[in-house]
Symmetry: C2
Subunit: 406 residues, 2 copies
């Protein structure tokens, strides 16, 4: 139950200086891989983007604090419990987790970053989690990506990863990453969970900037159901082991690297949409020639969130009236209805305020019958374009969320 | 498939000076009542509130224009076709409808107000519509409310009405109204369709103010699926036949009348929510002690629109973590998490940033098992409260909107 073929790479290239180890603590489901430990080599840089939800979970708060206090050496992730809405007790539980990693791995508590995902509002079973940390430590390996991709899942039906290498001046740079998420997906400065590592050398401030920019055209442009999680986080690790340094935006390598990072993060973000809860369609919503970014984004997200558009997509129904109605309520000031055009794929559906003269229901139906659908709104009033990706709204979305306590 | 018992009144009190006639034109479904004509006596005042959707349909545009040009004498409504997204042709079709009424009833075209509801983007079959106008005219009667309530429905499963009388200084004032709507419900200054008549005498400007105020605590506080229709309209007619005048806000009668009007319009608005597409729950979301109206309303509507909250409601699952996550993303500046309280009915669920010490799952479950559910968020940072009403998100919502071309 996901759109399109499996996208997890056949080969996840290892990143020198970055190891992953996975264990099973039975936090929610006995026998399931649910604890992941990641080790970052000394001298590496680590950047992060986090949920903007005011109720950001205890581990997110501690993660942000630790990241500002010391170079990160270990990341510890559990699924099955988000440790969110848990008050002071949740804070102490997240700290206790960090303390256990600190003792086990002989590092400072501030160098440990905690992450949790799963059910909100229930106490984290810390004892179960820390009991398997030695297993996770023993499993640490640069080729631990596949197990880790499995170990961070919750309602996901697929593991999600992306990996690439490129050569520069005779040396090779690797980028490899994993992500998870399929519901409560409307990230706001970050995805559900994402971890990307590279062996390029990049100073922390520049790394943060690269991550933020790449997030803004990947994880911050997807939505499944308009809900922003309390635990969204995306981390980018640069180990420097390749011997190549990305040093600044006036450098050719900077642009090559930024493009590669954007590609990896879009693949990870799209994988989340393809695995969106109940998804049967992968939908690209593109708003073109808007006056400014705000109106382009709001229009695109309003379309992507509309239950009526999403149910029409589920039904493969070229019901363009519903899309038009959303554009009309998107609060675009002084919208010229006659100038606007609406396309399904390459098929022009609306022009001059009504159905395009050349439109046929068959042409629209042919686009909607596909698994991958492009909705394109051309406002013809400026030069700003924005793209977001989303899913349809199916019976299975209702079933999954009416049956699962997430 | 609607929440709670039928609420249509046993007795719809007639309003002297206001007549309704219903006919069947087979615009979308053969044999269905789908054309309603309403006649307003000379000297009456008519006020209206309309959709803020930029793609407001041709009849809405003409209705607003005519209302500004001449005293309204006739309202003509069709269902089965919204005449929206129909460009210049749609405009001409709506005018042709008005012209037919004008000729048939010997009145000016500007005194005729047109309304359409139904499928968007298809040409209005004007010939079918005008062919039955003589039938509708012949049926005009002050007791035509029940047929008219049926004649304005689309996907609704129930007719919707409200009616009351009160005495003042030995005379009686009557208010009676009907509404329709069950999907694409997030009115913005008006509902889908609503028609309320009273025999009080009220000058046009004051009538408009009374209607706007009552709309802002009724139709503008409901949502089923966050989508705003291209055709929303609500009209208020004051015939003056009671011999009592509502003259200004310093008058005792003004307050009595305003309360009665709000009551009628809330009943009509609630009837729309109860009949919301696929609805199994009638949900009241109240946000209390907010700093200002904007944050109270945004928080309440964000909760009411969240697919994750709505599917939890469908499942009768007291999944308060999802509600908390929405409050956290509602962009409340400097929200004090520890001060906030969350209640399901009378049951305190969240306090001090986590699950309330006295909360039990059984107590939450008991509230969620009901058909009528109150979600109450107490922000404890100001003195503004706002209430909105909504439904859950069920399998039937998906079925209705994946199967029906609306």
């Amino acid at each position: 139950m996901a759109v399109g073929p499996e996208t997890f790479p056949q080969k996840m290239f290892e990143v020198a200086g970055f190891e992953l180890g996975t264990a099973s603590a039975g936090i929610k489901t006995p026998g399931r891989k649910d604890v992941v430990l990641m080790r970052v080599c000394e001298g590496a840089s680590v950047a992060g983007v986090f949920t903007q939800n005011a109720f950001c979970a205890a581990p997110v708060q501690i993660c942000k604090q630790h990241l500002s206090e010391a170079p990160a050496r270990y990341l510890v992730i559990n699924t099955g419990n988000a440790n969110a809405g848990t008050g002071e007790e949740g804070f102490q539980d997240a700290l206790a987790t960090c303390q256990s990693v600190s003792t086990l791995c002989n590092t400072s508590i501030e160098s440990v970053l905690p992450f949790s995902t799963g059910v909100i509002g229930e106490k984290l079973p810390v004892e179960k989690l820390v009991a398997v940390l030695p297993d996770a430590k023993a499993a640490l390996s640069t080729d631990g990506w596949n197990d880790a991709a499995e170990g961070i899942l919750t309602t996901d039906t697929r593991i999600k990863g992306a990996s690439l290498q490129f050569s520069y001046e005779g040396k090779v740079i690797t980028l490899t990453g994993i992500s998870k998420g399929s519901g409560m997906i409307k990230p706001n400065m970050a995805t559900m969970l994402g971890y990307v590592a590279t062996d390029a050398a990049i100073a922390p401030e520049l790394l943060q900037r690269l991550l933020t920019d790449a997030t803004n055209c990947s994880f911050n442009r997807i939505t499944v159901d308009s809900d922003t999680s309390t635990n969204d986080s995306c981390m980018l690790v640069a180990t420097g082991e390749s011997g190549l340094e990305v040093s600044g935006s006036n450098q050719e390598l900077f642009n090559v690297f930024a493009d590669a990072l954007t590609q990896i993060m879009q693949e990870l973000a799209h994988a989340i949409v393809r695995d969106g809860e109940g998804a049967t369609k992968f939908v690209t919503v593109k708003v073109e020639s808007a006056l400014n970014q705000q109106e382009a984004l709001k229009t695109a997200f309003d379309i992507a969130h509309s239950p009526l558009v999403k149910t029409a997509l589920f039904a493969s129904d070229p019901n363009w009236g519903r899309i038009l109605a959303v554009v009309g309520r998107a609060e675009i000031a002084d919208l010229d209805l006659d100038a606007l055009q609406l396309f399904l794929g390459d098929v022009c559906i609306v022009s001059k305020g009504g159905r395009d003269a050349g439109y046929t229901e068959e042409a629209g139906q042919a686009v909607m019958d596909g698994e991958e659908i492009l909705i394109r709104v051309v406002l013809n009033r400026g030069d700003v374009s924005e793209t977001v990706w989303t899913t349809d709204l199916s019976h299975d979305y209702v079933s999954i969320n009416a049956d699962y306590r997430s």
